[in-house]
């Protein structure tokens, strides 16, 4: 069930209120981009998907059911938009002309892209210092010692940040775990 804040946000978004548009964008553009990149190979296509998703959402916001949550609604639009772009690119491309950076992928399943959306959203909830430790560890592949050196902080600080971040992530992703088990 959507909270009062989210209902109000959706209503103001539908009215084109600039603050609401900026809030929606800041909150959801990242997860939308994640879904788009999971479906499309090119960053510019993913950016197009973000823009199109947001615009479609704005156009449809007046009909948004306030008893529902914004995230699943936006996710559904994003996934549909990304698949539409995927199909368009697939139609346009000659198979033997496809390079590694071009669209030649099978779109992720609903469940997988939803997990990607949720992980991205959960990362957005982390404090910046904890988020950076998670990024350096998982994405860059640094050890705690390397992160400590990179950030110029004691290794104990890195470990405690990492511990807090992962516990926080685990809590934020608990509902996804339940849905997928």
């Amino acid at each position: 069930m959507a909270g009062v804040d989210e209902r109000d946000l959706a209503e103001r978004f539908a009215a084109g209120d600039e603050d609401a548009v900026r809030t929606i964008y800041a909150r959801y553009a990242g997860p939308i981009l994640t879904v788009a990149m999971g479906t499309l190979a090119k960053r510019e296509l993913a950016d197009e998907a973000v823009q199109t998703t947001m615009l479609k959402a704005w156009r449809a916001a007046a009909s948004f059911d306030p008893s529902r949550e914004l995230a699943p609604w936006l996710y559904a639009i994003a996934r549909r938009v990304a698949i539409d772009i995927y199909r368009r690119e697939r139609r346009a491309a000659e198979p033997d002309e496809l390079g590694d950076d071009q669209v030649a992928v099978v779109p992720l399943s609903f469940e997988r892209t939803w997990e990607a959306w949720e992980v991205r959203s959960a990362l957005g909830e982390l404090p910046p210092d904890e988020r950076e430790v998670v990024r350096l560890a998982h994405f860059v592949g640094m050890t705690h010692a390397e992160i400590a050196e990179h950030l110029g902080v004691p290794i104990g600080t890195v470990k405690s940040r990492s511990n807090r971040a992962h516990r926080r992530l685990a809590a934020l992703l608990a509902h996804v775990v339940r849905a997928t088990e």
């Binding site: 009215a15 600039e18 993913a46 199109t52 997990e115 050890t143 890195v158 685990a170 608990a174």
Partner: protein
């Protein structure tokens, strides 16, 4: 994506397991620890089923993928606001009939661009170069400003009623040529909807573009230009590169 998108399933990209990466143990938190964290969070929140190790693996693989770390374009929100600006007060480009109120607080930068462009037009009009009196030959001229998608672009639109329709001559400056597979499309908008008035590509550099409208611009006072993809359908892409209003 961190992993190349070739002809493999996307799972190899977004959720793909990089066994060599994982085998190095370079990561600061191992899989068991992360699974434990997940389990703790799961139990704390749900008091129920226990997650499997597979869940931790999937999440960890996602955390190693650049799809979840990619940042949206820094100008994206301004582009979105420009697109909403362009459609405000009209039904959706897809043909919806519900009228929308104008955005409550237009962006100051865009207004500034329009104001600057309008100022140029006014000065030119004073010099008798661009602006012709409506009394002379029933033509009007107004400024069209580039959006965040084409901040250096601008245009001056000259509008003239003719016996066959409304002639709109767009004198375009610094609008990048549309890349192959894309094109520009001009629209006029008003409370009654959105009507396309022509397409062009600008691949020959700055030039004048002749557009034609079969609807009166008094009812469709906003002129916009969007970047479209060939094969992308007939709707506006929402990627507005130029926008102006005949009412000034």
């Amino acid at each position: 994506m961190r992993h190349a998108f070739a002809n493999q399933m996307v799972f190899d990209g977004v959720l793909g397991i990089d066994s060599e990466f994982r085998a190095t143990g370079a990561i600061g938190v191992n899989e068991d620890e992360f699974a434990d964290f997940l389990e703790d969070g799961h139990r704390g929140a749900l008091q129920g089923d226990e997650p499997t190790r597979d869940t931790a693996t999937r999440f960890r693989d996602l955390l190693a993928d650049d799809a979840v770390w990619a940042e949206p374009s820094p100008t994206g929100v301004d582009d979105l606001l420009a697109a909403i600006d362009a459609e405000s007060g009209v039904g959706a480009a897809t043909g919806a009939t519900t009228a929308r109120p104008a955005r409550s607080r237009p962006r100051s930068r865009r207004l500034m661009l329009v104001a600057v462009a309008a100022g140029v037009v006014v000065l030119a009009g004073v010099a008798g170069v661009l602006v012709r009196s409506a009394d002379e030959n029933d033509s009007r001229t107004f400024a069209v400003a580039g959006t965040e998608l084409a901040p250096d672009a601008s245009a001056v639109a000259s509008v003239e009623e003719t016996g066959s329709g409304v002639s709109i001559e767009l004198d375009v400056s610094d609008l990048p040529p549309a890349e192959p597979g894309t094109y520009y499309q001009a629209w006029v908008k008003g409370p009654e909807g959105l009507v396309t008035v022509g397409t062009f590509h600008m691949r020959g550099g700055d030039d004048k573009v002749d557009l034609w409208s079969g609807v009166p611009l008094d009812h469709y006072p906003t002129l916009t230009v969007t970047l479209q993809q060939e094969g992308g359908g007939q709707d506006s892409s929402g990627q507005v590169v130029l926008s102006g209003d005949i009412r000034g």
